[in-house]
């Protein structure tokens, strides 16, 4: 997944959590980049018609941006589910986040041919919990219990 798609995915998720425009600071935090880098990329996304940035308000995705963000989120969901179902990785969220920078959507589509993914994906992704809410496995339970502690 390329850098701009990672930004679009994060903006989409932050907008859902904040129920409005996504703040640049929150976007930068989630991507572990400096606010200056985030601002630069957001400017590029705006130039390409994927996002609107209003000073002091934040970033909102355009319709085209939302489509691309959902595609990127779906790629992430495939990687996450593949790690659990096929490779039985316990720390699947942590690993999915490092792998999504290298795994392209075309590669994810091939991995998708051997996993069970629900048709409503990626709408079933819960942004606050940062995980697909339909995942049922011990690994998810352990993540939930960690969050509760």
């Amino acid at each position: 997944m390329n850098t701009s798609d990672q930004y679009l995915k994060v903006i989409y998720l932050v907008q859902q959590v904040e129920d409005g425009p996504a703040s640049t600071g929150r976007i930068a935090d989630m991507l572990d980049v400096s606010p200056a880098s985030a601002n630069e990329m957001i400017g590029k996304l705006q130039e390409r018609g994927f996002a609107d940035h209003e000073k002091y308000k934040g970033v909102s995705l355009t319709e085209e941006g939302i489509v691309r963000a959902r595609d990127a989120l779906q790629t992430y969901c495939i990687i996450e589910r593949f790690l659990i179902e096929v490779l039985e990785v316990e720390r699947f969220r942590e690993e999915a986040k490092t792998l999504e920078t290298v795994i392209d959507s075309t590669v994810a589509e091939r991995l998708d041919t051997i996993i069970d993914r629900e048709s409503q994906c990626p709408s079933c992704f819960a942004p606050e919990a940062d995980v697909c809410e339909l995942l049922e496995c011990d690994a998810v339970e352990s993540v939930d219990s960690e969050m509760a502690d």
Partner: protein
């Protein structure tokens, strides 16, 4: 989360190589399924293509397994992936020979893209891996080259059928 497209550890490298093994196993298993599931006997040319694809994927898998072993990670056995392909095949199987060729083209292109991205991420990394970096990149580049040849071969066959 990080947006760096670089492989940062032995663990991440091994995971990517395991994914490569699975991709090869999917190609191999789907090629067998295509050959078995066609309602009419496949043309000799297509049958040969599928056999070559399965054979080449098995060779690539062996090379990747050797790298995974050196990283002291677990390889992904073919008999673990074959039933998963079988289980989902009904929903994704091509309808005719042209569909089989298109599926094969997607396989080759996807594999090429995967190895290209992994090589780029290795080259962008400053991590000192526990296996020789030159050997690693040489093996992966060789596989990538064969995938590029595969794309060309399938494309030529598709064009000749039009």
């Amino acid at each position: 989360m990080s947006i760096t497209r670089a492989v940062g550890s032995d663990h991440q490298l091994a995971r990517l190589l395991q994914i490569g093994m699975v991709l090869e196993e999917v190609v191999e298993a789907r090629a067998y399924k295509h050959a078995q599931s066609m309602e009419t006997e496949p043309e000799a040319e297509i049958l040969a293509l599928l056999e070559d694809a399965a054979e080449e994927s098995a060779e690539h898998r062996t090379k990747l397994e050797s790298l995974v072993d050196k990283l002291e990670a677990e390889p992904v056995p073919f008999d673990q992936i074959e039933p998963l392909v079988e289980a989902q095949y009904g929903q994704t199987k091509p309808e005719d020979f042209d569909g089989v060729l298109y599926d094969q083209l997607c396989n080759e292109e996807t594999a090429y893209k995967f190895y290209d991205d992994v090589i780029t991420a290795i080259e962008a990394s400053e991590t000192s891996f526990s296996i020789d970096r030159h050997h690693l990149v040489t093996v992966l580049s060789g596989i990538r080259e064969e995938e590029a040849d595969g794309v060309e071969e399938v494309t030529t066959m598709m064009e000749s059928r039009q």
